[in-house]
Each structure stands twice: as C-alpha cells, then as structure tokens.
C-alpha cells in the first residue's frame, strides 16, 4: 500500500497496530513497523504501577479472543529506559493512555505528550477494570470532559478510542469531536463476555468477564464505524476483527481512514501487516479504485427494492 497522510503525519501505509497487542517495548514496536504496520500503538500507559489481573487473562476461542488483562502498566513515570529507546525511533508512534479519573488522564497525558509521540490515544473504553476506562466511553458528558481536559495539555493530535458498549457510539464520537478530538479509534473490545468451564464450574478468566475481539466482533465494529462516520467529520481508525485485505476494504467502506489490527496477529502472525497490505493493494487494483475512493463508499449506496 502507498503512504498516507494522517492528521498531518506521514504513515507508510494505512494499517495500525491496536493498543494492547505486543506494544510493550520499543524493540517489538519497531519490529511490527518493519513487518508492514504504518502506525504502531503502545500498550495503554496509566498512572500506575499496576500489575493487571492474574491469569488466565487471554483465551483464544478460535473465532476470536476473550481477554481481561486488566490494564497492566509500569506507570508513565517508571518507563525511563523505554522513553529513551523510543526517542531514537524511526517510526511514527501512537501512545495510548488511561486514567481512573479526569485528573489522572491529564497527569499522564501531560507527561506522555512531552515524550513526543506522533499521537496520543485516550483509552476511554477498556472493559477490564472496575475503576478505569469504559466509564468515560459510555457517557457523552464524561467523554467530552476527559477529551477536552486532555486536549488542553498535549501538543500532539488526540485520538479517542471508543467502546461498542456505548448505547449510541455516534453520539460519544460527536462529543469527543466537539471536545477537540482529532480522530476517533473504534472499536475497543466488545462485550464484556464470559466463558465458564463446566468441569471447573467457574469462569475461565480470573477477572471472570473479558472483552471480545477478533473475527467474531467484526460486524459490531463495522456497524460502529458506520455510525461514527455519519456522526463526525474527523477521521476514523476502524478496527475490530480485521484479519484480511477484504476485511480492511469493508472497514474503509464503513468510513475508516486507517484500519487497525490486533487479534489478527494471533491468526496470521506479525506478518499479517505485510499480507493485508498486499491483499488490500491487489483488491484496489482489481477494482480500479483507490483507497480514498472507497472510504465511506457504503454510505452512498442505496438499496433498490
């Protein structure tokens, strides 16, 4: 795929690594970039330190995954060597952050902005902590407040990562746009769901419930991106179950400007980025269209009786 300009920054292609997948250190982020990912996202950084939940935390169901890792983080101010390693990077970086309160979001955002990532993504959508994340992503006023507060203290474009748990995700996206968000990233994991082992007679995940990802949630993700596209004019990073070039095409048609992948790494390895780039380019060539031309294309079609 050809390079794209996103919020004024040059990306080598329109593919994004979802937060929470691999992004634990500079070395692996660079490797994912080399493997064909246009924009890599760090694992969500919080005020921390925080260990996250005990295992089992991540289970592959075959048609997608369920996870409740629980937002582990060294804490933004315990990552000196990581920030140092990232300062010499040769790839664009999206820094995902979270907090348990508006004040914590601001505290983390201010510090992280000074480390010079290309973008900051606020995770207001994680279902795997009782105190963090999703609380802010299901309420328009809370979403506006946190977006607005973070926007004021950072010097880089702001991306709001949303949850499909919102009753009307378009309204949440609109609130984020009104508050100054430069882009929307959707969706975070769906559910939460639960799997119970009938022999053990208890939930498999230590946190009991967990977010769903991968192919099983793609229709939910496509619907969310479709709704958001109708509600806002800022660009959208569409993700949720994308595993192939055709999945990416579907996401672009729903209205995404960039397309993210996470669980796809489980099914096709880190090489999935190069593979999807090729598949996407082939599809566009075969159909004599460009990526720009298919963004939001599904919105222009009318069903005829």
């Amino acid at each position: 795929m050809e390079s794209v300009t996103f919020l004024g920054k040059q990306l080598k292609n329109p593919l994004v690594l979802a937060s929470g997948i691999l992004g634990n250190n500079a070395g692996i982020l660079e490797r994912v970039h080399r493997a064909g990912c246009g924009l890599v996202t760090m694992k969500s950084i919080g005020p921390g330190p925080r260990d996250g939940h005990n295992n089992p935390t991540v289970i592959d169901l075959g048609f997608g995954m369920i996870n409740a890792v629980g937002l582990p983080t060294p804490g933004y101010d315990h990552m000196d060597t990581e920030w140092q390693a990232l300062s010499g990077r040769t790839f664009p970086l999206n820094a995902s952050i979270y907090g348990g309160s508006l004040e914590e979001f601001v505290q983390v955002a201010r510090f992280v902005s000074e480390q010079g990532p290309e973008f900051i993504e606020i995770n207001i959508s994680c279902p795997n902590s009782d105190r963090h994340g999703m609380l802010f992503g299901v309420d328009e006023k809370a979403a506006f407040a946190v977006t607005n507060a973070v926007k004021r203290v950072i010097a880089v474009p702001l991306i709001a990562k949303l949850t499909p748990a919102a009753p009307d995700i378009g309204k949440i996206a609109r609130a984020c746009e009104d508050a100054g968000a430069d882009a929307i990233c959707a969706i975070n994991t769906a559910g939460p769901g639960m799997i119970i082992d009938i022999e053990a007679q208890m939930p498999v995940l230590a946190f009991k419930k967990g977010g769903l990802s991968g192919p099983m949630i793609k229709p939910v993700a496509v619907r969310c991106v479709y709704d958001i596209y109708r509600a806002v004019s800022i660009p959208i990073i569409g993700l949720g179950g994308v595993t192939t070039g055709e999945d990416a095409v579907e996401m672009f048609m729903a209205g995404a400007t960039l397309v993210g992948m996470g669980s796809a790494v489980r099914y096709r390895g880190i090489e999935v980025f190069d593979q999807v780039n090729r598949e996407l380019a082939d599809w566009l060539t075969d159909h004599h269209v460009t990526r720009d031309e298919i963004i939001g294309a599904a919105h222009d079609r009318r069903h005829t009786p």
Binding site: I59, P72, T73
Partner: protein, 273 residues
C-alpha cells in the same frame, strides 16, 4: 483433545515427588508435542502458568514443577484425581540435529524441558547436568545415557559449574583434533545459559537455549513476554545463536507483570515470590 484454545480440565494421573522442591505431575492424555514446547497449567481459582513438558509419550505427559512461589506450592500439593486445566502446546521447541556430536547442558530444573530432547538425540551426546547439591539433581535414574554431574558443593560429581565441563570437552575436542560439537542445547538459569552461549560463540559452535519470561496469552499477542524484539512464547522459548546475538535483553532485562523492564536479577527475585 488438549488444544491451544480454552483449557481442557483433566485429572492428575500420578505424582512423583523428586525431593523437597521438585515434583512431577503426570497426565494420561495425548498431546501434540515437540521437545521444548510448553503448556499453560491452570489451577482454577489460583492462576495459570507456563510449564515445559518434561515427560512425553503418545498416551502420557508430565510437567515438573519447582515449588518456589504461591502458584507452584499449590501445584506440587495436588493429588491424583485432582482436576487442572491445560491448554497448548505452545512455542517452537528445539531444532533437533541428528549429529552424534551434540551436547546438552542442564542447570537445576532446566533439566525438565531438556529431558524429552535427550531421548531424541544421538546416544553419543555429551550430557552435562549441574545443580546446587546432590539432592537437586533431577531425574537421577531416568537416563541410559552417561550424565556428567556438577554440584556447587561437590556433593556429587565435579565441584563447580556446568561450563567447567563443557569448556573442558570443547577444549579436548579441539586439542585432539576431533569433530567439534555441531550443536549445544542449554536450559537453566539465564546467567548459566548466557555463559554457555558465550563459550560456544568463542568456539563458533551453534547453540540453542530455552528462555523464560512472565507470560499471559502463550500465543504471541499480549506482549507480556517480549525480550527485545522477540516474543518468547511464539518466537521461542527456544532461541538459537543467531537470534541470541541480536537479543539485547538476553541475560540483562525482563518485564515484570506490570510490564516494567527491570534488570534480570530483580525479575528472578520477583518470580520466586
């Protein structure tokens, strides 16, 4: 069928207590397996941890546990008939070379993942095993192959460390103009594996070592076990010389549960809690 998806609850079939800290749990179940691969062991209500298989046959497998932390103490207290969850196997496993000129170097319970490998290698292999004392030599009567023992206190075999014997054997082969090792396999404390790697490098001998890091998913997505740009659960746990040369975190850095990168010694202290 044991698979990589949700854990399969199976009964502990038999237990062998080797000494005060090492215990092997046996399961009468078929599992698709290559030496060096691991499974995730789930104790419902407690936690889930990765363990390499230390015994393998088409109808039975075993994992050997060193009781050192909260989870492993619970695991060694299991009784036959108790149910545990298993998912896997995960990881790459050892690349097995058929040459008669191989060495296997085990340190402490690093013997466990190497045991199923030993039986697959040419019987002429050079087999070295070190431990703190005689009591900590795992699988004392298991192998027909000659095993060269080292102990820190000299209670059995050579008083010293495994690399003393490996270095001597490499030197012997060089001086006698004999065929040098085609492959050295090592598992044990990371400091020991690094010493083996360094020794092999200085004699241009290829080696493979099995690394350990805190893990969550086991299948390469969560990033908990990254070591430099390598993902230990899927790229490893076995790494060869070429990969080790470029692995800045080898014998240096590991991530805690929070994802914080710390010196390896701090990680080891934390893991034993």
């Amino acid at each position: 069928m044991i698979a990589e998806h949700t854990p399969l609850m199976i009964e502990v079939a038999e237990i062998t207590i080797h000494n005060s800290v090492y215990t092997t749990l046996f399961f009468d179940f078929a599992i698709d397996f290559r030496p060096g691969q691991f499974v995730m062991l789930w104790l419902p209500g407690v936690d889930e941890k990765p363990y390499s298989l230390s015994y393998y046959s088409p109808t039975r497998f075993g994992i050997t546990i060193e009781a050192k932390g909260r989870f492993s103490r619970r695991a060694v207290a299991l009784a036959p008939g108790d149910l545990v969850g298993i998912r896997g196997p995960f990881g790459n496993g050892f690349d097995i070379v058929s040459s008669p000129h191989t060495a296997v170097v085990a340190g402490g319970c690093g013997m466990a993942p190497l045991a199923p490998l030993v039986t697959k290698l040419h019987p002429d292999l050079c087999f070295i095993h070190g431990a703190r004392t005689k009591e900590f030599i795992l699988f004392q009567d298991r192998f027909a192959r000659t095993r060269h023992i080292t102990t820190d206190d000299g209670s059995l075999g050579h008083k010293g460390v495994v690399t003393d014997l490996l270095a001597a054997e490499i030197q012997h082969r060089t001086v006698q103009n004999q065929h040098q090792f085609d492959m050295v396999y090592a598992c044990g404390p990371e400091m020991m594996m690094h010493a083996v790697f360094t020794l092999c490098e200085s004699h241009r001998i290829p080696c493979q070592v099995s690394l350990e890091r805190y893990m969550r998913c086991g299948f390469g997505v969560c990033g908990a076990c990254v070591c430099g740009d390598r993902v230990v659960c899927t790229d490893g746990p076995v790494f060869d010389s070429a990969q080790l040369r470029n692995m800045a975190d080898f014998n240096r850095t590991a991530l805690l549960k929070s994802g914080r990168a710390v010196p390896l010694s701090d990680y080891v202290t934390w893991r034993c809690q």
